[in-house]
C-alpha cells in the first residue's frame, strides 16, 4: 500500500534521471518516501529497491545509518532539540527538560495523541541563536520556555502550517532543469 505513488513516483523517476549512477538517488528517494508516508514503510523501501536495482537489505542498510530516517511512525511534528556544546552553554538541557514536561514524553518517544515526537539532537548549526530547535526541520532560535509553549500553541492552531510542513517534507522546491 505504501509504494511510491502518483506525484511521488513521478518525482522519484525525475530524481533518478538527475544522476549518472542510479544508486545515488537512494537517499533522495528515501526522503521522498518519508515525505509521502511520514516514515519509511517496508513497502516503500522495497519499491525503492526495485526502482534502483537494489535489494531491500541494501536499501535498509543505507536507511538505518542516517538519523533523519524513521522506520517507525513518528508524530505529526518532530521536535528536535539541540543540546550540543553551544546550546548546552545556553540552556539547551533546560529547554529539553521543559519540552519533555510540556509534551509529556521523553526524547525518542511520541505522545499518546500521535502529535509530537521529541528527540534530542546533535548540533543543528544555528548556534548564534542557542538554544535552538527544529520542528520537522524548520528552525527556531533563542527558544525560551515561554517561546516553546507559544510554538506548541501555534503548531496546534495551524498558524505555522505554511512554515512547518508535514514531517518528511524536506525540499518543496522541485528540480527544474532542461532534460
Amino acid at each position: 500500500m505504501s509504494k511510491l505513488a502518483g506525484e511521488f513516483l513521478t518525482r522519484a523517476r525525475e530524481t533518478i534521471a538527475a544522476y549518472p549512477g542510479s544508486r545515488s538517488a537512494l537517499i533522495p528517494l528515501l526522503h521522498l518516501a518519508q515525505e509521502q508516508d511520514g516514515h519509511l514503510t517496508g513497502d516503500a523501501m522495497e519499491h525503492i529497491g526495485e526502482l534502483l536495482g537494489l535489494t531491500p537489505a541494501e536499501v535498509m542498510g543505507t536507511a538505518s545509518f542516517y538519523d533523519m530516517f524513521f522506520t517507525e511512525p513518528v508524530g505529526k511534528w518532530l521536535v528536535s532539540v539541540c543540546t550540543n556544546i553551544a546550546c548546552l552553554l545556553n540552556g539547551g538541557y533546560e529547554l529539553l527538560a521543559h519540552a519533555e514536561e510540556k509534551l509529556g514524553v521523553r526524547p525518542g518517544v511520541t505522545s499518546h495523541d500521535g502529535r509530537f515526537t521529541l528527540e534530542e539532537v546533535e548540533c543543528i548549526a544555528r548556534c548564534d541563536e542557542a538554544p535552538c530547535l527544529a520542528v520537522n526541520w524548520r528552525y527556531f532560535g533563542k527558544v525560551t520556555n515561554g517561546r516553546f509553549d507559544e510554538l506548541v500553541a501555534d503548531l496546534e492552531s495551524g498558524k505555522l502550517n505554511d512554515e512547518v510542513p508535514t514531517h518528511g517534507t524536506l525540499n518543496r522546491v522541485r528540480r527544474e532543469a532542461p532534460a
Partner: protein, 446 residues
C-alpha cells in the same frame, strides 16, 4: 583591538534581505566572474587560485589550488562535489552561506567545474538544512533558466550539469570520503586514503577524479577570479591568506558569523571587539576557556587570546594537551566558555557527541568513544572514581597515542583520534574540577 580594513569577500551581500535571489545576485555583480572565467584558460584560473593560496575552509585546510591541479592532470570524466554537510558542533557558517547566498556557492562551483574540467556538480547539502535545500534548489533552477548552468553556458561552448543532493543526518558525512559514499547511496563509511595516489582528487565519486571543496571555499572563487589571486594573497599572512568566516558562539555578548582577515585578527579581537563578540556573557564575565576550531580541536585558555587566527600559528602554539602541541582552526568555529562553566560537563557533552557519531568501522573509535562518554558521564553525574582520571588518559592514549596534537592516525578518518582532544585538554587545564566532582560526588556547578 585590530579591526582590519579587509573587504568582505564572501559576506558582502548578506546585508540585503533578498540576498538569496537571482535578482539581488545580478544587481550585485553576480555571474560576472563566471563570464570572465569562461574567457580564460582553465589552467589560468587554476593558477590564480593557487596564487591566492586559499586553504580549504571545511576543516582540513588543504590548499584548494593544489587539489584542483591533481584532478586536472588526470583523464576524465571529472566530478565536482561541493561539501555543504556542515555538522561540526558550533559551526554554522556554511548553513548561512547556503541559505543566504546560494548563487555565490553555485557560481564558485561553476567556475571550479570549468577550471577542472568537471562534467557534473553535486551540491551536497546537509539534510537538516531544509530551508537551505529549498534555497539552493530554487537558486539552481534560476541559474539554469538564466543560462549559467547546463548546455553551452553563456554561449561559451562549456557545459556542466548540477544537482542538489540532500544528506540525511550523519556527522561523519562531512568527512569527504564518507560524503562520497553517501553520495553513492551508501552508509557514510569513510574510505581508506593512501596519499598521494588514492585520494578523492584521483579516485572519488564513481571512482573518478573528484574535486571536493567546502561551501565557503567555493564562495571565495568568484572574488578571486574578479580580483586576482594576488589580491587575495595580499590579505592575511603566511600560509593563511584571505579572509575567513568564524562562527562565534557560547558565552559571548554577540554570537554570530564574522568574516575577518586571517592572521591580522586575533582570538581576542574576535571575542572582545564590540563589532564582533563584544566580550564575555554571564558568570563574572570572565573567560574560562575557548574551543578554537570545532569540537575536534584541543581547547585554549585565556593565555591563548593573543594568538593570530592563522592555521599554522594555531597549530604551532603551545597548547593544552598532556603530550604537547597546539590546536587547530579546523572548521572555523570558536566556542567561548565563561567562568561559571563546568568544564567536565562541556567535555562530556562533546565525548557523547563523538560516541553517537562514530560510524563504527574502526575499533579504537567505535569502542573508545563509548568508553570516554561513559567515564565522563559518571564523573559529571557524581559516580566518578579517582582511577577514572588515569583511565580517561589510558583510553585516550589508545585512540590518539601520545595525547599530542597533531595526533598519529589509528583509524581510517580523523573522528576517532580527535575525540579525546577536548577531554585531555579539559583534564589538563581543569584537573581540580574533575577532582571536586569525584570527591564531592557531584557537579559543583549545579
Amino acid at each position: 583591538m585590530t579591526i582590519t580594513e579587509a573587504p568582505k569577500i564572501v559576506t558582502s551581500r548578506l546585508r540585503y534581505e533578498d540576498s538569496h535571489t537571482l535578482d539581488r545576485y545580478l544587481a550585485t555583480g553576480g555571474y560576472e566572474a563566471l563570464r570572465k572565467a569562461l574567457t580564460m584558460a582553465p589552467e589560468a584560473i587554476q593558477a590564480e587560485v593557487e596564487t591566492a593560496g586559499i586553504l580549504g575552509r571545511g576543516g582540513a585546510g588543504f590548499p584548494a589550488g593544489i587539489k584542483w591541479k591533481t584532478t586536472m592532470a588526470l583523464p576524465g570524466p571529472h566530478y565536482l562535489v561541493v561539501n555543504g554537510d556542515e555538522s561540526e558542533p558550533a559551526t554554522f557558517k556554511d548553513h548561512m552561506l547556503v541559505e543566504r547566498d546560494p548563487h555565490q556557492v553555485i557560481e564558485g562551483a561553476l567556475i571550479t567545474a570549468y577550471a577542472t574540467g568537471c562534467e557534473r556538480i553535486f551540491l551536497y547539502v546537509r539534510g537538516e538544512f531544509a530551508l537551505g535545500l529549498e534555497r539552493m534548489q530554487a537558486a539552481l533552477n534560476d541559474a539554469y533558466k538564466f543560462g549559467a548552468v547546463g548546455r553551452d553556458i553563456f554561449g561559451s561552448g562549456f557545459s556542466v550539469e548540477a544537482v542538489v543532493h540532500p544528506g540525511a543526518g550523519a556527522y561523519i558525512c562531512g568527512e569527504e570520503t564518507a560524503l562520497l559514499e553517501s553520495l553513492e547511496g551508501k552508509r557514510g563509511f569513510p574510505r581508506i586514503k593512501v596519499p598521494p595516489k588514492i585520494i578523492p582528487a584521483t579516485v572519488g565519486v564513481y571512482n573518478k577524479p573528484t574535486v571536493v571543496n567546502n561551501v565557503e571555499t567555493m564562495s571565495n572563487i568568484p572574488w578571486i577570479v574578479m580580483n586576482g589571486g594576488a589580491a587575495f594573497a595580499a590579505l592575511g599572512a603566511g600560509r593563511s591568506t584571505g579572509t575567513r568566516i568564524f562562527s562565534l558562539s557560547g558565552h559571548v555578548k554577540r554570537p554570530g558569523n564574522y568574516e575577518v582577515e586571517m592572521v591580522k585578527t586575533t582570538f581576542r579581537d574576535l571575542i572582545y571587539a564590540p563589532v564582533y563578540g563584544g566580550g564575555i556573557q554571564g558568570g563574572n564575565n570572565e573567560l574560562k576557556a575557548f574551543i578554537p576550531g570545532g569540537a575536534s580541536s584541543p581547547w585554549f585558555g585565556p593565555q591563548h587570546l593573543d594568538l593570530p587566527l592563522g592555521q599554522d600559528e594555531v597549530a604551532q602554539a603551545q597548547g593544552t594537551l598532556p603530550g604537547g602541541g597546539g590546536s587547530m582552526l579546523g572548521s572555523g568555529s570558536i566556542v567561548v566558555m565563561n567562568d561559571a562553566t563546568c568544564p567536565v560537563r562541556a567535555a562530556w557533552r562533546l565525548a557523547r557527541f563523538f560516541a553517537r557519531e562514530s560510524c563504527g568501522q574502526c575499533t579504537p573509535c567505535r569502542e573508545g568513544t563509548g568508553w570516554l562518554d561513559r567515564i565522563m558521564f559518571r564523573i559529571e553525574s557524581g559516580s566518578g572514581r579517582m582511577e577514572d582520571l588515569d583511565l580517561l588518559l589510558d583510553v585516550s592514549d589508545n585512540i590518539a597515542p601520545g595525547l599530542a596534537f597533531p595526533y598519529p592516525m589509528t583509524t581510517i578518518c580523523f573522528l576517532g583520534p580527535s575525540s579525546p582532544m577536548p577531554i585531555c585538554s579539559a583534564l589538563q587545564m581543569f584537573r581540580d574540577d574533575f577532582l571536586v566532582h569525584i570527591k564531592d560526588g557531584g557537579c559543583p556547578y549545579g
